[in-house]
């Protein structure tokens, strides 16, 4: 039986005492650093963030414009000349069939879209979920039951279906109330629906935490000293929640990146000429026989980024919450 020792209540404290004296965040950091996979994943994420931020610079330095047509790279049928989708010195990852636009350049610009949606979506969703979860947990009573019921209702809807179905009318509605037309409105829509369907999970997590924390001595104590709610939230609760919030956010971010790609694949994400990985994948589907490289490159890139986020999130979770499985013996 391997069950064994891990259950032993004394095994863990022992491991912990090794780095005793460090603050919880330093402690977590130290643990994170030891996790090789997570560190590599972290650097991969940094790499993508770097590329996304400096895409305009990088593409112009290396002459990889994502928009410039290159008729020379195409044959009379509009297919890329050369092997593997026209991989060449000028186009390190080949060109888009039909237009000859550079795929590497488009990937770089696409990283901006993916990461932007990922980050903003995560921040907004986490923020909304955090606030509603705290309100729900602290206030209880009517407000709590309203929030809980709305959460139930939200979860009863088939989210992907609704996201797809409401895409056009809601995007138009957004445009009509003054959100800049085009891709800005589309991105706003995606973030909006991701929030509408995503806040519940965060809110439930936080509500549960708050409910248990509020019974704990330090909160009780603070309350008995007459501490205000604000004080309790910022001084007593948040410091005890941040770790879980960050882990949750990191683990939900890759989900948003993948959702953006899936929506674009279904024709609901961004529209060209803006390059997004999802639109590239959606376009490449038609060429999956004639030019499989064109499908594989954005697909694999997307996979690497999502995987890096997941692994980084796992590492982070293990670091802040060593009781999770990987740290156990």
């Amino acid at each position: 039986m391997t069950v064994s020792n891990t259950s032993d209540s004394e095994a863990m404290p022992v491991a912990d005492t090794a780095i005793v004296g460090l603050s919880p965040s330093r402690l977590a950091l130290a643990r994170f650093r030891r996790d090789k996979v997570a560190v590599i994943a972290f650097f991969v994420v940094c790499f993508f963030v770097f590329i996304a931020i400096f895409a305009p610079v990088l593409t112009s330095v290396f002459n990889l414009s994502p928009y410039a047509l290159d008729r020379q790279a195409l044959n009379d049928y509009g297919n890329p000349i050369g092997y593997f989708g026209g991989i060449s010195w000028n186009h390190p990852l080949g060109v888009e069939p039909g237009t000859g636009r550079d795929i590497l350049g488009r990937l770089m610009y696409g990283a901006r879209v993916s990461l932007l949606i990922g980050f903003i979506g995560t921040i907004v969703t986490t923020g909304v979920g955090l606030v509603l979860g705290m309100v729900s947990g602290l206030r209880r009573g009517l407000l709590d039951s309203v929030i809980t019921r709305v959460a139930d209702l939200t979860l009863a809807f088939p989210s992907l279906l609704l996201i797809i179905a409401l895409n056009r009318p809601l995007t138009q509605r957004l445009e009509s109330i003054g959100v800049p037309k085009g891709n800005f409105a589309r991105m706003t829509y995606i973030i909006l629906v991701l929030t509408v369907f995503g806040w519940v999970y965060m809110a439930r997590l936080i509500r549960g935490q708050v409910l248990s924390l509020r019974e704990r001595e330090f909160v009780e104590a603070a309350r008995s000293f007459g501490a205000s709610n604000t004080h309790i939230v910022f001084k007593e609760l948040l410091p005890n929640l941040w770790a879980q919030v960050i882990v949750f956010a990191t683990l939900s971010l890759p989900g948003y990146v993948a959702v953006e790609a899936s929506l674009s694949f279904l024709g609901i994400g961004l529209m060209a000429p803006a390059a997004s990985w999802g639109t590239m994948l959606g376009d490449s589907v038609r060429y999956y026989r004639a030019d499989p490289t064109y499908l594989l490159i954005p697909g694999v890139t997307l996979m690497i980024l999502v995987m890096a986020f997941n692994l980084m999130g796992d590492g982070l979770r293990d670091a802040v919450d060593p009781k999770s499985d990987r740290q156990q013996l």
Partner: protein
């Protein structure tokens, strides 16, 4: 227990009502003018006006919703002249598809159910199997393999897996025929062949998270004091794993799986798109492209019904399976 069930069902019913009203209102309120959407290049105001009346969009939303509900229970006629009648339960009529929405759904549902059922069986086998193996061999190569699979699987978007599968198994190697859905009644062998790829595609992606769930669940239960006590009693390892660990670890997993399965019944949108399966998801996508509101309302509603029912079912099931819930 009876009270518990009754309360749960009542709640489900209320939720269903809220969901249906909400769905209806969202769709009825949002687009600028559903009647204008029915209009082709010969669009004239009279045509739009006629169509508005035909579709019933000239009435207040509450009335429309009332008619909709009425249609579900009593059937309903659509159109002004020579209207068409859809018997109960009528979920509407699609003037784009020229069919009662209920018929469209009863035709799509078996397809989706076929996809969902096979994928479900596969993903439970793969997910729970690998997850259990990983937990039992924690830290050794089977564990690494399973966790590796799960990380990769979770990171792969469904559509990419599907496209890769077609590329590899159909186009490059020719191991499988071109996917084309065949009803199970008309040709079981073809039905099976046509669904292998969709099943695996869905299963791989879902199984990945079940590997984690199962592995973590089992490890957590293994650390429970009662498992140690069982061991200390002198129970066999196998007895212990099956009777103590699996029973406790799989209960929450089975219930999550029930919810996931129900959600899938509402339409495996992406998988059905990639493999061109005429199921609920594909129906919805087509309806989106056609701005076919009656279908969208109905598919959303049907999907929501599955989720709500599954939720209630799972809760009640939990009541039977977990003695701790019974008292509440």
């Amino acid at each position: 227990m009876l009270i518990f069930i009754a309360r749960r069902l009542l709640f489900a019913l209320a939720l269903l009502f809220a969901v249906s009203a909400f769905t209806y209102v969202i769709f009825a309120a949002l687009p600028s003018d559903p009647a204008a959407l029915t209009c082709g290049k010969n669009c004239r105001p009279e045509v739009i006006a006629t169509n508005r009346v035909r579709l019933g969009y000239d009435k207040p939303i509450v009335v429309q919703y009332g008619q909709f509900l009425n249609g579900i229970f009593k059937g309903r006629s659509y159109g002004v002249s020579e209207g068409v009648h859809c018997p109960a339960p009528s979920l509407g009529y699609s003037f784009r598809k020229h069919q009662c929405v209920t018929d469209l759904i009863t035709r799509s549902l078996p397809v989706t159910a076929s996809v969902a059922l096979g994928a479900f069986v596969l993903w439970m086998l793969i997910g729970v199997g690998l997850g259990t193996m990983a937990a039992l061999k924690r830290g050794r190569w089977p564990d690494r393999l399973a966790t590796g699979f799960s990380v990769v699987g979770i990171s792969l978007p469904t559509f990419f897996v599907g496209l890769l599968a077609i590329m590899v198994f159909v186009i490059w190697t020719g191991l499988l025929p071109f996917p084309r859905y065949e009803g199970i009644t008309s040709n079981p062998a073809k039905w099976f062949m046509s669904l292998i790829l969709p099943w695996f595609t869905l299963a791989i992606v879902s199984a990945s998270s079940y590997v984690r769930l199962t592995r973590n669940g089992i490890l957590e239960v293994m650390n429970e004091e009662f498992v140690r006590l069982g061991l200390a009693k002198g129970l066999r390892r196998r007895t212990l794993i099956i009777k103590y660990v699996m029973r406790a670890a799989l209960l929450p997993i089975v219930t999550i799986a029930g919810l996931d399965f129900a959600a899938l019944l509402g339409g495996a949108v992406i998988t059905e798109s990639v493999f061109n399966l005429p199921g609920m998801g594909k129906l919805s996508i087509m309806a989106v492209n056609d701005s076919d509101l009656p279908i969208l309302v109905a598919t959303t509603l049907v999907a929501a019904v599955f989720i709500v029912i599954a939720n209630a079912f799972v809760d009640i099931l939990y009541g039977f399976l977990d003695p701790r819930v019974r008292l509440n």
